[in-house]
Assembly symmetry: C2
Homo-oligomer: 161 residues x 2
Amino acid sequence: MDTTATIIQRVREEARRRNVRWTNQREAIVATFVASKDHLTVEELHRRVRLKDATVSAATVYRTINMLTEIGVAVRRQFGASASAAFECAVDRDHHDHLVCTICGSITEFHHDLIERMQVEVADTHGFLLSHHRMELYGTCGTCRIQVDPPAAEDPAPVAR
Amino acid sequence: MDTTATIIQRVREEARRRNVRWTNQREAIVATFVASKDHLTVEELHRRVRLKDATVSAATVYRTINMLTEIGVAVRRQFGASASAAFECAVDRDHHDHLVCTICGSITEFHHDLIERMQVEVADTHGFLLSHHRMELYGTCGTCRIQVDPPAAEDPAPVAR
DNA sequence: TTCCATGCAAAGTGTTTGCACCCGG
DNA sequence: CCGGGTGCAAACACTTTGCATGGAA
């Protein structure tokens, strides 16, 4: 089990190895990022970092998150048609895909080994050497289903599409 | 089997039903779009439309492709980290997912029923009511594998990047 | 002291929109 | 004619980048 501090330490060492300087801004950004367990947009990450150090600019957050993505500490995601990218910390995390609620936007992670194996098979069948994939399932989460679909539904069914 | 003309006719009727006017620009854009069997960006579609009618603006292509997407004639896709969206004609096409070659960018469509069923199952397990999904498999296509991985490689390997 | 990193603002990209004019129904 | 459609340019949202300055090593 890695504490936030341990992860930061690791990133710091990786940075040193690459002759990347360790600044206060990076410390603040990385600390905030690895402490966040959800999927963050740059804007949200910037907002949280500002609480610690109000001088950090958005440009630096972008530069830092890109650096973290390059060294494999962050993973970039792009959900739905949302314009902005979301990032999640990749340290000590296994590969997974996402279920996205189209009502409330909540994100649930899942891993399905058989699907993964079949994806390799599909790639194989078409002569592709699979390197990675992107799979997002969109729908209505349990909580929203209850609110959208009241228990005693007497309304005519909505037109399918 | 539907000819391009038949499809245009259908779109035209759908437009009339919605009190959407049929202009020369729309005729040109829709005709070009349904005749294209590949995945087009707006820029590429605009380029092709201009060959027929040089006065059509990009704004109109955006407005028209958005209209086509709304009425279900076009489907918007977003491959990889590419900034621009790709559109494909949805008329007379069944649902499918994509294999994308990360070397040459070629796109292969596929459908795997078992995967689809398991996706529903995954959603179910997490209390989600699945509405749609997005699945793209990235890798190296057969053609590129041969060129990237030459049978008898005598050249020094290029620096990875 | 040497460069990399930063903040700022400007530039870039892909897409949307306000507006005056145009034209299909 | 009437109201939606169009071209143009400006606005937009997100992200990157040039530049002068600042700070880590």
